[in-house]
């Protein structure tokens, strides 16, 4: 979409307050702050009051926060121009990680660039949805079936490259972030239902031919936690005890006995929600879920107010990806989804996913605060 209007370089800056002029969104910022403070408290508690862990966590949060500020300053138009290049570089890195990657946990995920080591898949968490948003940025919604097929092919390519690393969990999540773009671009319901049917039908084939033993084991353990009492099944049982024993009001900060007696695994990362639920109870859980919902609702509002297709699709799909992370993590910890080693956004001990997440918040803020005044 290109609407030729006389470009009035008058932006909202004059009308909205100080945050806006710094290209930040005060509501999102508030939500992020509250979540990070909660997360830091729980990380401190779950680590057994280890100040070093807290300091490391805050350092990483600070780094990620700085990146968020940086990305908020880049206008969406410039992001759009660079998107195909970033996507191309990301794809090349994914291919090279398969060829030369370092092996960790029996899977090649890391690329060592001498100075830094990182997972190229992390780039694609943003790169793929933005690439698709770029693809449809000049189309009228819904795009032509041909373009939809191109989009699906890109999703398939990237998901395929990550699956052979092999990293099934990340691959599914990244594919979903791409599919959200197609959904928001107006993929017809008939396509959506039929593709869900196809995926469901192909599950047995994937199970038999494309899944590694450890992946199968996780699914089997999920279906029957008692079958692996020394491994992840035990973790789920302990996690449920932690959550359940929190009750309505919780045991108070530092009151988690499950984490402190080392019954709970990964208590500062993947299973941090269990510690939170044990210490703050159902009331805390309701508050936390509400907070996540408000952050998301604000994100979707930003998407709905966006001025062009690229911004719209990017914003909406990033918000939905965030939601999926929240849902999958809490679902896994509470035993309604299989264990897929995934941190809880903004709460878990900081890692590379924290960086990606904060960058996507930066992009959201940039979209909201770089608008041209469109009154004709």
């Amino acid at each position: 979409m290109r609407i030729d209007l006389p470009q009035r370089e008058k932006v909202y800056r004059q009308k909205k307050g100080i945050w806006f002029s710094m290209h930040l969104d005060s509501w999102l910022l508030l939500g992020i702050f509250l979540l990070i403070i909660t997360g830091s408290l729980i990380v401190y508690s779950a680590s057994g009051s280890d100040l070093n862990v807290l300091i490391r966590h805050l350092t990483r949060v600070g780094f990620a926060f700085a990146l968020m500020l940086f990305f908020a300053q880049i206008p969406p138009n410039i992001m759009r121009v660079y998107t195909p290049w970033i996507f191309l570089v990301g794809t090349i890195m994914l291919i090279s990680v398969i060829l030369f990657g370092e092996i960790g946990k029996g899977a090649k995920r890391w690329l060592d660039l001498g100075v830094i080591k990182f997972q190229p898949a992390e780039i694609m968490k943003l790169g793929l949805p933005m690439m698709l948003a770029w693809l449809y940025s000049h189309d009228t919604f819904p795009p032509s079936p041909k373009k939809m097929l191109i989009g699906i092919a890109l999703v398939g390519l990237i998901a395929g490259l990550i699956i052979i690393q092999p990293d099934l969990g990340t691959s599914i999540l990244i594919a979903m972030s791409g599919l959200f773009v197609l959904f928001f671009a107006g993929l017809s319901w008939r396509w959506i239902t039929s593709s869900i049917a196809i995926v469901a039908a192909s599950l047995p084939i994937i199970w038999n031919f494309y899944m590694y033993d450890y992946q199968k084991q996780r699914v089997l353990t999920f279906l029957n936690p008692e079958s692996d009492p020394l491994g992840t099944g035990y973790h789920i049982i302990q996690s449920k005890i932690a959550i359940g024993s929190g009750g309505l009001e919780g045991k108070g900060l530092m009151g988690s006995t499950q984490a402190h007696l080392e019954f709970l695994p990964e208590s500062t990362t993947d299973f941090i929600f269990a510690v939170f639920a044990e210490e703050f109870g159902l009331i805390g859980v309701v508050a936390l879920l509400t907070l996540y919902f408000l952050v998301m609702a604000r994100g979707l509002y930003i998407a709905s107010q966006a001025q062009d297709n690229f911004a719209r699709l990017t914003a909406a799909s990033l918000v939905m990806t965030l939601f999926v992370y929240v849902f999958v993590n809490i679902g896994m910890v509470s035993g309604i989804l299989p264990v897929v080693g995934l941190p809880l956004p903004l709460l878990s001990y900081g890692g590379s996913s924290m960086v990606t997440l904060m960058i996507s918040f930066g992009i959201l803020m940039s979209i909201h605060t770089h608008k041209k005044l469109l009154t004709s």
Binding site: D50, G106, L261, A277, Y292, F327, I330
Partner: protein, 605 residues
């Protein structure tokens, strides 16, 4: 593409905005639905299930503890235990339950004076640095009386418990270390590769050698112990137990007595010896000298000991049998001779005149005997190890035929013995040289290949395997270390004239028994017939760089080799011996080994 950038109509813009907004609403609804699902789940766990989970968390609760399996023991062929598990007592520290760390350590030193202050303070630092909830084992083995003393005073030490563990031990210490390998603490890398529930409760894993290769047999399956404990983590009682499945005991083909006998012969030498039973492929002895004590590695080797092993100029950590690559020298001659008469390049009775050298393309290739061997036929060429004969022969054969005829004997390939990281050695060929050196093959290189020099490299294991193929008259039997596997004949080297085996073997027998034979001096009065071939390999050494060439005479730097088998009619053993940089000869050692083992065999019967 350009023509697609057109202005949108008002209607399109309106429709598009509505479509997107509808999708946003739908997404919002979808999220609310899933959040409600989570909320429902949480309500179920925290409200409905509160009493249930509360009692599980607060009251006595059941936890599972892994019962580590007992690691399988390793026996030699005569059922002598060569890797065992020894029960030991040690102390387990649960940091969060220790009330006064300082006092506990002082009391501990008073109770067990043998426990040095340095050791304790080192451990104290480690404990201090670790997370509050970790459990650590004191790296000290308590004697029985110390354990009894601690047990009766244990009330003084809350959070410190006496535990009995099984520790891997190698009763013969350095003996067969390079075969057995050792177990050691599981490191991060290994931990990521293995199935965590299979190793629950176990902190060691096979690192090297048989311990690593047969880890899947030796390890076993952990059991599960359900323990009822109170909210403070104290054990109330033990509930259901699923016992661990112990690892399998395995029996090796090694004869530990023979192994030790050979190790004594090689004491303080850099050497490698392999002894195979030719008709079964069973490895009777596998000696890489000097060796190291694998017991040092079980609890984690100390920095000081490890440095000492690494900086030892004799390099005890190197597995010379598996990874030492040596030029075969003259030991290759019987194989070349066999190929030549088999392919009718030369008749066994054809003679040449040896002036002590071969002149080829302005270069003089010297025989080891300066004045030459005179008139030489194939038999004499092997018995006296005449170089000139083989120089001439190799030019008639060409490198392609040499490469093709030596390949079935396993040169340049791994033997596929049941150990990891075997070296291949090099059997040179035109394509090898093109690939590795990116150069053409020269005939001068064929000449030195025929006496096992030049690019040619073999491992002692390859030499022993090739020798056993000779002893079997062409039957290639897979060499192996695990007794409990069937003898497998890979194939039989087809040969046109069956008498050719006898001709080569006769020459090797005369090498040992004939008055002119190169090994005759060491074989006087031998009560059985042995076939063999001596060899000398020049220049190459495992640690060449450390030598000052001018200071050490050439003779000292040569390696001495010997291959052989006995008795000739019904071979019971095939041997390869390599002594590095030494004036000691390999032949007498091989003959001593044959004497010892055949006597041992006859004593048994």
């Amino acid at each position: 593409m350009k023509n697609k950038h057109r202005y949108q109509t008002e209607g399109e813009i309106y429709f598009q905005k509505r479509l997107f907004r509808n999708r946003i609403y739908f997404a919002l609804a979808f999220c609310i639905l899933l959040l409600l699902l989570l909320l429902g789940r949480m309500t179920f766990l925290q409200w409905v299930g509160y009493n249930h989970y509360q009692s599980m968390a607060e009251g006595n609760r059941i936890s599972v503890e892994a019962l580590p399996p007992v690691r399988g023991r390793i026996y030699d062929r005569n059922h002598v235990i060569i890797a065992d598990n020894q029960p030991i007592f040690t102390l387990k520290f649960s940091k969060d339950k220790i009330e006064n760390l300082n006092k506990s350590f002082i009391d501990l030193h008073l109770l067990i004076p043998n426990l040095s202050k340095e050791k304790l303070s080192k451990f104290y630092e480690r404990l201090n640095a670790s997370s509050r909830y970790r459990q650590l084992y004191l790296p000290y083995t308590l004697s029985e009386s110390e354990a009894a003393r601690f047990a009766s005073n244990s009330y003084q030490f809350p959070g410190i418990t006496l535990v009995a563990k099984l520790k891997r031990t190698y009763p013969f210490n350095e003996s067969a270390a390079h075969v057995l390998g050792y177990v050691g603490k599981i490191n991060q890398n290994e931990y990521e590769q293995l199935n965590a529930s299979e190793y629950a409760g176990t902190d060691v894993i096979g690192k090297l050698g048989i311990e690593k290769y047969y880890e899947h047999l030796l390890h076993g399956v952990p059991g599960i112990q359900q323990i009822e404990s109170n909210a403070r983590g104290r054990i109330i009682r033990k509930l259901e137990t699923i016992p661990a499945k112990p690892g399998k005991d395995i029996q090796l083909t090694l004869d530990i007595h023979l192994q030790r006998f050979i190790e004594t012969l090689l004491k303080n030498k850099k050497a490698a010896v392999v002894v195979i039973e030719p008709n079964t492929g069973e490895i009777l002895a596998f000696v890489s000298s000097p060796a190291y004590d694998p017991n040092l590695f079980v609890d984690g080797i100390s920095q000081k000991n490890y440095q000492a092993l690494l900086s030892n100029p004799q390099r005890p950590l190197v597995n010379r049998v598996l990874n030492g690559q040596y030029p075969p020298g003259s030991t290759i001659k019987p194989f070349i001779a066999l190929a030549a008469i088999e392919n009718q390049i030369i008749s066994p009775t054809t003679t040449i005149e040896d002036p002590g050298f071969l002149e080829y393309q302005d270069h003089r290739y010297r025989d080891w005997k300066r004045r030459g061997h005179g008139t030489v036929d194939m038999h004499k060429a092997i018995v006296e190890s005449c170089d000139t004969y083989f120089y001439k022969l190799s030019l008639d054969m060409g490198i392609d035929l040499i490469h093709k005829s030596l390949t079935p004997f396993g040169f340049g390939q791994i033997t596929q013995i049941d150990l990891h990281n075997e070296s291949t050695g090099i059997l040179p060929s035109r394509s090898w040289k093109r690939q590795v050196k990116n150069d053409d093959w020269y005939n001068g290189e064929t000449i030195i290949t025929s006496i096992g020099q030049g690019f040619f490299l073999t491992t002692p294991l390859q030499l022993a395997k090739a020798t056993s193929i000779l002893a079997n008259r062409g039957e290639i039997i897979q060499p192996r270390l695990l007794k409990d596997t069937p003898t497998t004949m890979i194939k039989k080297i087809g040969i046109e004239n069956i008498n050719n085996w006898d001709k080569v073997i006769q020459a090797m027998e005369d090498t040992v028994h004939n008055i002119h034979g190169t090994a005759h001096a060491y074989a006087r009065g031998l009560p059985f017939k042995m076939a063999g071939k001596t060899g000398t390999a020049q220049v190459f050494s495992l640690n060449e760089g450390e030598y000052n060439e001018s200071e050490i005479t050439k003779n000292l730097r040569d390696h001495s080799l010997f291959i052989g088998f006995a008795p000739v009619d019904q071979p019971k053993i095939a041997i390869s011996v390599i002594i590095e940089n030494s004036s000691t000869k390999a032949a007498p050692i091989a003959i001593d080994i044959a004497k010892y083992y055949l006597k041992e065999l006859s004593n048994e019967n």
